[in-house]
């Protein structure tokens, strides 16, 4: 199955997590993130438990820790903001290593950092165990508007075609001695972008023609029916349900 179109985040494997139907995984990750976000930030131990839960999932999915940690780096630009919070926030202050930090800022930073990291880790796990194509089927199954699913699937199909077209235009420009080196050349680049847009638009029309010629009448025919058994659902939902228990305990303590 699926020798090709493995996206870079996907890690090929045959674990029980890989085998779960995509929509159950999507639902589970979404529910997990909601639970994590609604946990009180003071319950630090809860976040530790969530991390352990994700660790268990990664272990079952046979996703190595190194792989997971490397993918987590994507959140760095987003949490950079969190690091600033203790310095700029108002209110009561504490001394840490000779620096005056705001208490509420520290809590805020912790909140963003912990919840963000857990959310990203859950998404990375989803992406590394589910193929792009499957994700789309899952979204379709979860009743995402069909138009959005179609747009996403065309993006996957034509991303490479358009990148290639862009590359050919660049080569054509450079073959005629053009080198983008400053603001003065932005005009040329803008015209190339415009030409690319028109080419893509015309391709869109030709694709539509080809679709209509094969009986397309406004909605995509269902080719692959994805279904999940009760066991598969409960297997997938084990993660968010356990997390929910942790969350509820966090609120009551």
């Amino acid at each position: 199955m699926g020798a090709g179109h493995a996206h870079r985040l996907y890690r090929h494997g045959h674990s029980p997590v890989h085998a779960l139907p995509p929509h159950t995984k999507l639902a589970a990750v979404f529910a997990f993130v909601v639970v994590v976000v609604s946990t009180p930030r003071e319950a630090m131990w809860a976040f530790g438990l969530y991390a352990v839960l994700l660790g268990v999932v990664a272990y079952v999915a046979r996703v190595p820790a190194r792989f997971l940690l490397k993918r987590l780096l994507i959140e760095v630009p987003f949490v950079a903001f969190a690091v600033l919070m203790p310095f700029v926030a108002e209110g009561e202050r504490v001394e840490v290593l000779g620096m005056s930090l705001s208490v509420s800022g520290l809590w805020g930073a912790w909140n963003v950092l912990a919840k963000g990291t857990l959310g990203v880790a859950a998404s990375v796990l989803l992406a590394s165990t589910t193929e792009l194509r499957e994700l789309l089927l899952g979204l379709q199954r979860l009743k995402l508007p069909p138009l959005l699913v179609q747009i996403a699937s065309f993006m996957i199909r034509y991303g490479d075609v358009i990148t290639d077209e862009m590359r050919r235009m660049r080569i054509a420009r450079e073959s005629r001695g053009f080198e983008a080196s400053g603001v003065r050349h932005w005009g040329v680049l803008a015209k190339s972008a415009g030409a690319l847009f028109i080419r893509s638009y015309e391709r869109g029309e030709r694709v539509h023609l080809a679709m209509v010629s094969r009986g397309y009448a406004g909605s995509m025919p269902v080719i692959d029916e994805v279904t999940a058994s009760r066991a598969q659902w409960s297997y997938a939902l084990a993660l968010p349900v356990t997390a929910l228990v942790v969350c509820v305990v966090g609120w009551t303590l």
Partner: protein
């Protein structure tokens, strides 16, 4: 070889684009079931316009098109599009689904086929073009020749009455060209092949039509048309350098 109804029957077809440009001026021809016919003509002769009339993408002009006796009109559009399989020139336009299998399944699934029946249809179509082992590959990972073959399969999967190919040999290397010719010869469907590639037309199609300035200028045996130098010159058709149709012996 005496088919009751022609696969394709075009009578008095004329068409002008909304901008006033008249592309077809009364086109008449008919193609019998099982025939392989080449449609030759210079650029701008109206070949593409004609092709788009065959499955009702364009219409509203004068004249009529019938596919296996069924008129091309609003009422029969779904059936017509199932019966007329058009293979467009750029396979990247034709193959729009994420995997080969889903692309081939698109047509039959749109026609309401499901489950095992659908799978069987997809498998047979891919086997006929020798691409069965590529079913789960995304189209952009295939070579150009392979993509063209898959494009043929997407149309075969609909079990069409007539296969219409727009420039089937364009951009193919000689080996892919020959492979495609072998596949086209092995099919038992009516074929209308729009092309500039005169040797390819001679190789595959016993009969040819020349479309020039919106009308059928000639209709006859491909070998005879290609050797009629005056006719060829009159319609801007030129044989490639060194190619002499008289020196070619045809098997079929």
């Amino acid at each position: 070889m005496d088919p009751v109804t022609a696969s394709l029957e075009v009578t008095g077809l004329a068409f002008a684009y909304p901008d006033g440009h008249q592309a077809l001026f009364g086109v008449d021809f008919s193609i019998a079931r099982g025939e392989r016919v080449a449609l030759l003509g210079p650029n701008g002769a109206g070949k593409t316009t004609l092709v788009l009339h065959l499955n009702g993408i364009l219409g509203g002009g004068v004249g009529s098109v019938k596919v296996a006796g069924l008129p091309v009109d609003k009422q029969h559009m779904a059936e017509i599009r199932r019966r007329v399989g058009i293979v467009f020139q750029d396979p990247d336009d034709q193959l729009f689904m994420p995997t080969v299998r889903e692309d081939v399944a698109f047509g039959p699934a749109a026609a309401g086929l499901k489950g095992d029946e659908l799978e069987a249809r997809v498998r047979t179509a891919l086997e006929r073009v020798g691409m069965a082992e590529f079913a789960h590959r995304p189209p952009h990972h295939l070579s150009f020749g392979q993509r063209r073959r898959v494009a043929v399969a997407t149309v075969l999967a609909m079990e069409p009455e007539i296969l219409v190919l727009d420039e089937p040999s364009s951009n193919l290397d000689p080996a892919s060209r020959r492979e495609l010719a072998d596949i086209l010869r092995s099919l038992d469907v009516t074929v209308l092949m729009v092309t500039h590639d005169l040797p390819y037309a001679l190789e595959l199609c016993p009969r040819s039509l020349i479309l020039s300035e919106g009308t059928i200028a000639a209709d006859g045996k491909t070998a005879e048309l290609l050797t009629d130098e005056e006719l060829m010159r009159a319609h801007r058709l030129e044989l490639p350098f060194g190619f002499d149709p008289r020196s070619v012996t045809m098997g079929a």
